[in-house]
């Protein structure tokens, strides 16, 4: 079969119990049925539901020139909600996964000893991972990169919290935590899966004219709602968060970062072991930390502590920062040393996160619980009417479903009314050469995703 544009055409079935990996073809039929990302993940989840599946997948546009196309999605049963959850993975995960040669990875069963999955050049290996089991996230990333000899390798991995299978455990993207609010760190732990390591040096085909269309859309985005704005700091006032947090963020910021092909750099690097103004390379090995987790950051600031340092502690043990900060607030913790000790203890505490972790009122319908709560719960710079919607809650759920399916960052999705459903349909049509692909067809794929995920 000819490979579909934007995809490598491979689904990896990794049986952790037997240690065997098999590659299956990504069929045209499956792409026509569900397009990609969370929607195809859901189809694969159902197909393998009797074998304890966890699905990692890329979206239709992931790793292409489509703006904000960094996304991969992890789908499974959440120990937090007891139901299906989809975790958006940003940074470089989506591009590294797809270009390692796999559009989707189905992880089945559990290994009987710690392992990691290594994906590169269309190859997959389930390797022993005793060397990093018990090690914190930062040390594990360093050791895995060293073991495979490349520091551009991207990793999804767990720390102590995941190894202890606690519901607050996150799957981390390299050193910096993730938008996992579903406790999938505990699912990795239960599978004895310490890490997935990926290096993407493969290639994808795209349709003729696609590059130019994507550049035009990127320019429209840059001149639209996000114009003149950058970083997490500019989310604060529009989201209704305590505005004193903005100056705290600004004074500690080193540089902003964007994920693969993102026009809005929200990832903020904080330096606290050297001056934030230092741009040159120095001997300070761990000068600070990087995050896009505004809810956690804000909640730690609200405790009156040095929030980026508390974030670092969460990242190292592999805890979800926003939920952990909420628990620390209830405990009445007000200094960094006590916070760090409490975070260490939380890494072996089976306590569950409670409801929304945003320090603002959130009004979302029940279906929102299938998507990450780390994403701003409303459009940031524009009213929902700019997106052609009326009901803010329904809009949020559908916009997330769309982003998780096409492989667009779900934060970008709520920043960019310029990315309309019509433009997406046009680019899908162009890419897949489906003249009959329509807004209705896309909507029915999203309806299906929401209905199947909500059980």
């Amino acid at each position: 079969m000819e490979t579909i544009n934007n995809y490598t055409g491979n689904i990896l079935i990794a049986d952790l119990a037997s240690g065997e990996c098999e590659t299956e073809e990504l069929s045209q039929e499956l792409v026509e049925k569900a397009l990609g990302g969370a929607a195809i993940n859901m189809e694969l989840y159902e197909q393998y539901k009797d074998r304890d599946p966890l699905i990692l997948g890329t979206g239709f546009f992931t790793a292409t020139f489509f703006p904000c196309s960094c996304l991969a999605v992890l789908t499974g049963k959440s120990p937090v909600t007891g139901a299906i959850g989809h975790v958006p993975l940003t940074w470089q995960v989506g591009v590294e996964l797809k270009l390692s040669g796999f559009d989707f990875v189905v992880l089945l069963g559990a290994a009987d000893k710690p392992v990691r999955l290594w994906l590169h050049d269309g190859l997959s290996d389930i390797n022993e991972s005793q060397d990093v089991w018990g090690k914190d996230v930062w040390e594990s990333v360093d050791k895995i990169r060293e073991a495979y000899g490349d520091d551009m390798i991207q990793t999804l991995l767990i720390g102590k919290a995941g190894e202890n299978k606690v519901p607050l455990a996150q799957v981390s993207e390299n050193y910096w935590g993730s938008k996992d609010s579903f406790g999938f760190g505990a699912v990795f732990g239960a599978k004895n899966l310490k890490a997935i390591a990926m290096r993407g040096l493969g290639a994808l085909e795209v349709a003729e004219g696609f590059f130019q269309k994507c550049i035009e859309l990127k320019n429209e985005i840059l001149n639209g709602a996000i114009k003149g704005k950058s970083g997490l700091k500019d989310f604060i006032a529009p989201l209704g968060i305590d505005t004193s947090i903005k100056a705290k963020i600004e004074s500690a910021t080193h540089r902003l970062n964007a994920c693969y092909n993102c026009p809005y750099p929200c990832y903020t690097f904080f330096k606290y072991r050297e001056a934030p103004s230092v741009m040159a390379q120095t001997g300070v090995a761990d000068p600070g930390c990087l995050t896009s987790g505004l809810a956690g950051l804000t909640r730690f600031y609200m405790l009156g502590i040095d929030a980026p340092r508390a974030m670092e502690k969460c990242f190292k043990v592999g805890l979800q920062p926003a939920a952990a900060a909420q628990i620390l607030e209830k405990k009445g913790i007000k200094d960094l040393a006590a916070a760090e000790a409490a975070l260490d203890a939380l890494a072996s505490d089976p306590v569950k996160p409670e409801g929304s972790t945003w320090p603002i009122a959130v009004n979302l319908p029940p279906a929102a619980s299938i998507f990450s709560s780390a994403i701003p719960p409303k459009p940031v710079f524009s009213p929902v009417s700019d997106f052609g919607a009326q009901d803010a809650g329904q809009f949020w759920v559908r916009r997330q479903a769309l982003a998780y399916t096409i492989g667009m960052c779900p934060i970008c999705a709520v920043l960019t009314p310029e990315v309309s459903t019509e433009k997406i349909v046009e680019l899908v049509r162009m890419s897949a050469e489906w003249d009959d692909f329509s807004v209705d067809k896309l909507n029915s794929i999203l309806d299906n995703l929401i209905a199947k995920s909500s059980g």
Partner: protein
Amino acid sequence: MDLKVEPLKCTGCRICEFACNFHYDESISPIGSSLMFYREEKKNYYGLMLKREKTLLLGRPEGERILKPGEQIEGASASSKPILLRVACDRCAEEEEGPLCVRACPFGVLSME
């Protein structure tokens, strides 16, 4: 005319690397690009390297630096060494709309001067 880099404007989105590869072979990949992004992730230290005909341009946070053959690449990681084997930037001379990397970069880091 040569490609210029303003490193401190860069956010590390890497799309220039992929655009350059696309210029050469119309596929999406980082592997055939004249540009290479490198990063020391824990230090948030990152920049670009550009393979030119006779030199290597380092767009480091400290500023631009030009390396001649045989000079050591400092401040760049082991994974950036393959840049020496890459094809030299042809300045997208035959691209009607201009260099693909310049068009793709969202932050005005790259320019042809």
